[in-house]
């Protein structure tokens, strides 16, 4: 009974319970009531329409990044550089908007161009990690990590250098764009349905690429056995590059959403750590696209819900990160335990 799908779900539920228990212990040791903390997180995330809209604002980039990472994971690649790809996507979007800041073209067209610009920027940045791996023999984890630092430095350089505000440059970022350069938002709420639509389109496309296309099947073959895939006639390194390009484009789109739907300018922490969070989501869902939406939504809710904690309970809001991390660790641990169990049985 513990084999098959039911067993798998049972183990994951157990992991979830264990993670909650572990975090509860941490809370108790800090002298706080776990139940109250969880209640606050719940009301802080879905307690009101306005709060839920905030959750969706976080959900959009997280889902796009997760979608991209599903592609690179399928190709057997650890695209740690995704964080930098978001940043470069945002920079490219801002760059395109700056070009057209005084133009008379319709704003909708300019926003579209800017989003495309962000996707292309992210893809090119990802291709650097890909080329380092393919032609330079640099593991994508190291290459990506290095490029992440470069992208952060580039952001700061732009904010304090060529793109600085009139007068004095500041950590609050570049001069905000005029309102007509923003994706339209739902009245009274910060969420843009356009952004939400783009994110959902992204994950749906990725789902179909992986489930129903020759391209996706070949990617999986490359990811699961590079050598055998080559012998089967698949141009392996090209497929690795394609996966970097697609993931980079989706991460770039996430960066573009951060600019056009949330911040309307370039800020130093424009990627908000969604790259690393996306890696956790992808690991947690074991690289299955169908689970991306609920899990990314859950992680976004944790992020937003925990904002309440310092205000109401004098706890640090990083508790969300602790819970997310612990959850991933327990799920991976339980998966290991399950496999051992199945092998024995």
């Amino acid at each position: 009974m513990l084999k098959g799908r039911a067993g798998s779900i049972a183990f994951q539920l157990l992991a979830f319970v264990l993670a909650l228990g572990f975090v509860s212990l941490i809370l108790l040791s800090a002298g706080a009531s776990p139940m109250e903390a969880y209640k606050n997180m719940l009301t802080g995330s879905i307690g009101s329409m306005r709060k839920f809209a905030e959750v969706l604002v976080t959900f959009v980039p997280l889902l796009l990044v997760t979608a991209g990472l599903l592609i690179t994971f399928s190709a057997g690649l650890w695209n740690i550089g995704v964080e930098g790809q978001i940043v470069i996507g945002a920079i490219s979007t801002v760059g395109v908007l700056r070009i057209f800041v005084d133009s008379t073209l319709p704003p909708a067209l300019i926003i579209m161009l800017a989003i495309f610009g962000g996707m292309i920027g992210g893809a090119l940045w990802a291709s650097l990690a890909g080329m380092l791996k393919t032609f330079g023999g640099v593991n994508e984890i190291f290459g990506g990590l290095g490029l992440n630092f470069v992208s952060t430095a580039l952001t700061l350089y732009l904010i304090f250098g060529p793109w600085k505000r009139e007068g004095v440059a500041s950590m609050s970022g570049t001069e905000p764009f005029p309102d007509h350069f923003a994706l339209p938002q739902v009245p009274e709420l910060r969420i843009s349905l356009w952004a939400l639509g783009i994110a959902l389109t992204g994950i749906v496309i990725v789902y179909f690429i992986l489930q129903g296309t020759y391209f996706g099947l070949k990617l999986k073959a490359v990811g699961k056995n590079f050598r055998a895939a080559y012998l089967l006639g698949i141009p392996t390194w090209q497929y690795s590059m394609y996966s970097f390009l697609i993931c980079g484009a989706l991460a770039g789109a996430a960066g573009a959403m951060q600019v056009t739907a949330v911040y309307h300018r370039l800020i130093p922490s424009i990627s908000s750590g969604y790259g690393y969070l996306g890696l956790m989501v992808a690991m947690l869902i074991n690289y299955q696209a169908v689970w991306a939406i609920p899990v990314a939504l859950f992680f976004a809710a944790l992020n937003i819900g925990s904002i309440q904690l310092p205000i109401v309970m004098k706890l640090d809001s990083s508790l969300a990160g602790v819970l997310q991390g612990v959850l991933v660790l327990f799920v991976l641990l339980m998966e290991g335990a399950r496999q051992k169990f199945v092998k024995k049985a």
């Binding site: 296309t213 020759y214 099947l217 056995n225 055998a228």
Partner: protein, 496 residues
């Protein structure tokens, strides 16, 4: 040191690799262990040196005392050291640091004392290296010398050498043998594992032959070569009448092909292979046949010479160009190189069709898979992942991946580990391909299989390639001698 192995059994899953081996080696003996690949030599030696544990009931007795060896560290503790075929050293480190490794005791190694000991030992055996040089600048032969010194310094009284003469020069071999001959005087026991009859005959005081996990015979000098060969390869079993397909035009022609890797050099091989023909490559593993078959598939680029397929020059082209030109290669390591674990049979057949277009036609894919599963008699469903299949079914699945039509089929151990019915079935399928005009080159360590199914045979020995031998008039014994390095012309050029 006296070594006694009593009733050694070892199972790997269903495979019975050692079947109750009893062997006594008196102190001061150089013991040869002969056998073909898969005979159980390595398993036995790994048990003695602690890399793997024998099944319960097996006994190792050293100088009259039963010992239990759980790890290589245990082994060296009781005085057993093993020199592996590929030196297990650390190339980016200095010679002296390698020498120090595995020495227990002390947080800070005493380099000075070690250097003194090192020089002393090196002088005793007439080795010359600089202890401060890096290991990756040494030749394979020198690395062996270093490893022998290290094991002796660690206190080895039994020295196991696994195929030590592969990949070293003739002068290094002479030096190695001179060193080994000195050791028994000091009460050391040497176990020399090899497939090279000549080396064993020149060096050893007694020889044990393993076949299919059993000790099939022992011999002391003077050695009777043909008796040894018979013990190694066994008596022939009949696989039915030989069949040959009608031979057509030239498919593959190799002109003065030269190949090189870190261990071996193959020089100036010439071969014309015709449609419908089957060529078997014989030789013990690592003699050059693997590199040769990969060169025919485009996976290894020759350092010299010309490769032509049906008149088209493919020299230096990629494997995918070879594949597009009608060459398929099925590697021996099924789950490592041939198939993609985690993907289903349907996925494999769909991929092997080199699909065009975007969306997968699931219905057609499953229909294709069902057809192939039926015609290749695979026990599995279209949705079975390849790793869930048994070895024989994985092999049939690999064969089912061959494209149609093909000019050249390259196979590495196509029937290894399969039962006799599967072997006959697979060859029936392959011979059918021959009648359709494909040529086949295959590697096998089963000499009966080679003689049964090939038209011509090439024998490989340490990078030398024999001229093509007519399989119909060759015996297992003749082939066995050549494989063991006997009966080769002194200056053996590669005129295949």
């Amino acid at each position: 040191m006296n070594v006694e192995l009593k009733n050694i059994h070892k199972h790997f899953g269903k495979t019975h690799a050692n079947k109750g081996i009893n062997l006594a080696i008196p102190s001061g003996t150089i013991q040869g262990v002969l056998g073909e690949n898969g005979a159980g030599k390595s398993t036995l030696m790994k048990i003695l040196s602690g890399f793997i544990q024998a099944d319960s009931g097996s006994q190792i007795i050293l100088d009259g005392k039963p010992v239990i060896i759980h790890s290589p560290a245990d082994a060296i503790h009781v005085g057993v050291g093993m020199l592996h075929q590929d030196p297990l050293d650390f190339p980016p480190m200095r010679v002296l640091d390698n020498f120090l490794l595995g020495r227990s005791g002390g947080l800070f190694p005493n380099r000075k004392e070690a250097a003194q000991n090192f020089n002393l030992l090196a002088r005793e055996f007439d080795f010359s290296f600089d202890p401060e040089t890096y290991v990756d600048t040494l030749t394979v032969g020198e690395r062996q010398q270093l490893e022998i010194m290290r094991l002796l310094w660690l206190g080895a009284r039994v020295l196991i050498l696994d195929e030590p003469t592969t990949g070293i020069s003739a002068s290094q071999k002479a030096k190695l043998f001179a060193t080994l001959k000195k050791l028994p005087e000091q009460g050391m026991t040497i176990i020399f594992v090899s497939h090279k009859l000549e080396d064993v005959e020149n060096l050893c005081d007694q020889v044990a032959v393993l076949r299919a996990g059993e000790l099939v015979g022992e011999m002391k000098p003077p050695f009777n070569t043909s008796k040894l060969v018979e013990m190694m390869f066994g008596k022939a079993i009949t696989l039915g009448a030989r069949q040959t397909a009608e031979v057509g035009g030239t498919v593959l022609s190799l002109n003065n092909i030269s190949l090189e890797d870190a261990r071996l050099k193959i020089k100036d091989v010439n071969l014309d292979l015709r449609a419908g023909e089957v060529i078997g490559l014989a030789g013990l593993e690592g003699s050059g046949q693997g590199m040769f078959i990969r060169a025919c598939s485009g996976l290894v680029r020759p350092v010299g010479g010309k490769v032509q397929l049906k008149g088209q020059d493919l020299t230096g082209k990629s494997y995918h160009t070879f594949k597009a030109a009608g060459v398929n290669f099925l590697p021996a390591a099924r789950l490592e190189e041939g198939l993609v674990p985690g993907l289903s049979l349907t996925d494999h057949f769909v991929l092997a069709e080199q699909p065009k277009g975007i969306f997968i036609d699931r219905v057609a894919g499953e229909k294709l898979a069902e057809d192939r599963i039926q015609s290749f008699n695979i026990r599995g469903t279209p949705l079975s992942t390849v790793e869930s299949l048994s070895g024989g079914n994985q092999q049939r699945a690999e064969l089912a991946l061959l494209q149609t039509p093909l000019s050249l089929i390259l196979l590495e151990h196509p029937t290894r580990g399969l039962d006799i019915e599967s072997v006959i079935y697979i060859w029936a399928k392959l011979k059918e391909r021959c009648r359709q005009g494909a040529a086949i080159i295959f590697i096998s360590s089963d000499l009966e299989e080679i003689l049964q199914y090939s038209d011509r045979v090439l024998v490989f020995f340490s990078g030398k390639v024999s001229p093509p031998i007519d399989a119909a008039v060759t015996s297992v014994e003749q082939l066995g001698q050549l494989i063991g390095g006997k009966g080769w012309p002194e200056k053996g050029g590669g005129h295949a």
